[in-house]
């Protein structure tokens, strides 16, 4: 079953065209990585999926429906079925970490405060944050902790679809590996579908089971990581170059 359908999407900002006929479909259980050069409109595509912006022409369907389809209530319900992790976390700076994670739960209504507490604390444990961070303000957290707290908030409603914008950017390799294995285990246990934008080859190979390469304002290819790596294209070459360099020793003394 298809979670996201992107059909012939074209987007332009003024005279700058970022998408020229994008077609992509994300199936349930996919771990889809969106890669591409800077300014290729990866984040914009993610925002289209979340319904935060609309393409100039073409159609983006989430769970089979356009973002503006249905009544106010239906649209709201649809928005509760996915979680989004923004590039810089976008935690509410005036609320504590606890209240940030509790926010979507309280918005939903009908939950008792002690249930909210259990859910919030179990989410914190899920993203491996110390319980005492719950009472801290976002400004007191480090970059990696902000990412984790923001992920906990995106996961608060246990969405079917998770949209991640550069989830590992700005994390040290150790943290980023931890983040990847966390998303991976969530995918396995919750049956999540994940669409993520990344520049990081390591996290891409560790997490993705499908890769969509954006270049020249289109989707160049969408396939398994192994197949993508075999393709012959300038961008793919440079993107995976770092990896290929590790395979063959660069200098004689390294042998």
């Amino acid at each position: 079953m298809s979670v996201v359908d992107i059909v012939d999407v074209k987007t332009s900002f003024g005279r700058l065209q970022v998408h020229d006929g994008i077609n992509l479909s994300v199936k349930q259980g996919d771990l889809l990585a969106l890669v591409g050069g800077s300014g290729e409109g990866k984040t914009t595509l993610l925002r289209h999926i979340a319904g935060l912006s609309a393409p100039t022409s073409g159609e983006v369907r989430l769970f089979g429906e356009r973002y503006d389809q249905g009544s106010y209530r239906e649209r709201r319900l649809r928005r509760q079925r996915f979680g989004m992790l923004f590039q810089h976390g976008a935690l509410f700076s005036a609320l504590t970490v606890y209240d940030n994670i509790a926010f979507p739960l309280r918005e939903l209504g009908g939950l008792h405060e002690d249930e909210v507490e259990t859910l919030v604390m179990s989410r914190l444990a899920l993203v491996e944050l110390d319980p005492h961070t719950a009472r801290q303000m976002p400004a007191q957290l480090s970059g990696g902790m902000i990412k984790r707290a923001a992920l906990a908030r995106a996961l608060a409603l246990e969405p079917e679809l998770l949209l991640l914008d550069e989830p590992t950017a700005g994390l040290d390799p150790d943290r980023s590996a931890g983040f990847v294995s966390l998303v991976r285990s969530l995918h396995d246990s919750l049956g999540l579908t994940v669409v993520f934008v990344t520049h990081d080859v390591d996290s891409l190979l560790a997490l993705a089971n499908r890769v969509a390469v954006m270049a020249d304002r289109r989707i160049l290819a969408c396939d398994t990581p192994e197949e993508i790596m075999c393709l012959d294209h300038a961008f793919i070459d440079t993107f995976f170059r770092s990896l290929r360099q590790y395979d063959e020793p660069m200098t004689p003394w390294m042998r």
């Binding site: 079953m1 769970f63 089979g64 319900l77 509760q80 079925r81 509410f92 700076s93 005036a94 606890y98 739960l105 939903l108 209504g109 009908g110 939950l111 249930e115 507490e117 259990t118 859910l119 919030v120 604390m121 179990s122 989410r123 914190l124 444990a125 899920l126 319980p131 005492h132 719950a134 009472r135 303000m137 976002p138 400004a139 409603l157 246990e158 079917e160 246990s189 919750l190 049956g191």
Partner: protein
Amino acid sequence: MKLRAHHAEALTPPRIDITRAGFALHGHWTLACMRPRLHALRRDLASSAAEMSWDLSGVERLDAFGALLLWRTWGQRYPEALVMPGLLVNSFERIQHPPEPEPPPPPHRMHSLFQRLGQGLLEVGSHVRGMIELIGHVTSELWRLPQHPGEIPWVETSAAAYKTGVQALPVAALLGFLIGIVLSYLSALQLQNFGAETFLINILGFGVIRELGPVLVAILVAGRSGSAITAQLGVMRVTEEIDALAAMGVSRHQRLILPKVVALTLAMPLLVAWTSGLALVGGALAAKMQLNIDIWNFFERLPTVVPLGNIGIGLGKGAVFGMTIAMIGCHYGLRVKPNTESLSTNTTASVVSSITAVIIIDAIFAVLTRTLGVPR
């Protein structure tokens, strides 16, 4: 048709079949799906008894909330008779031992009047200290810059003067003109009763040039530019732009604060002159209509009844007010902590304090200049 089938499948609502044997659960036990019928589900679950059997094999999806609800119904343990697919165990494991949150910090309680007084004094002290520091930094920059003319921030100063001065001209004109008309009209009504129409020029001249013009413009500028200065510096603090400047060895006092202070100090007297002038024009028009005082006559008599010193006092006040507003705006901008709440608090405080400060300074001026510019 196929699509519809998918949807029906995706959103099978949670359901409880209560049989003689026990409870059989079906559908999606997720927060979003349970929300519309949460009340009924809670009621049904509450009606369960301890020895009943539970069949969870019909559950398609169970999230942490669904698991939590069942876990609590079961009294924090698995029931004796339970049929459950192995996959669901994960959901239960996640909510079984949530870490305890730290107790919220005790609310800030003020025990006695003395403590409250002390707290208030410390707060005032920190503001005074911050203000003195700011004045010191700006003064030392003013002292240093003439010796290094290359570093004078011309562009920033001129941009600030344009934003705070030139762009305020239309609204200041409207304000001055209308106040002039109102003041002249109301005074004329009273003066007519005493047959003292000609004194209208004295009242308008003194009132507008010496008092109303500077204070009105100051209040306008405090709301317009004071808040803008605080918000701009505040956001620059939130986004660490001020730290970035400091890391490049650029003094924030030289590049951000001094230009604003100098620009407002220079632009305010000009704004005051402009506003006062238009207020007098408005007043003269109203006088012509109400008392039939000729407009040329009005402006010819004005210098003879209002000594020249009053213009100096008005413009001088304007300069001092401008400097005060800029300094207070910068002071609060630099106090912003990196969150949105602090930004709004400090912007509000900036505007309120600058208006209060302007009125206090105005009173001091009134006392100090009580013998100046007054006809004997």
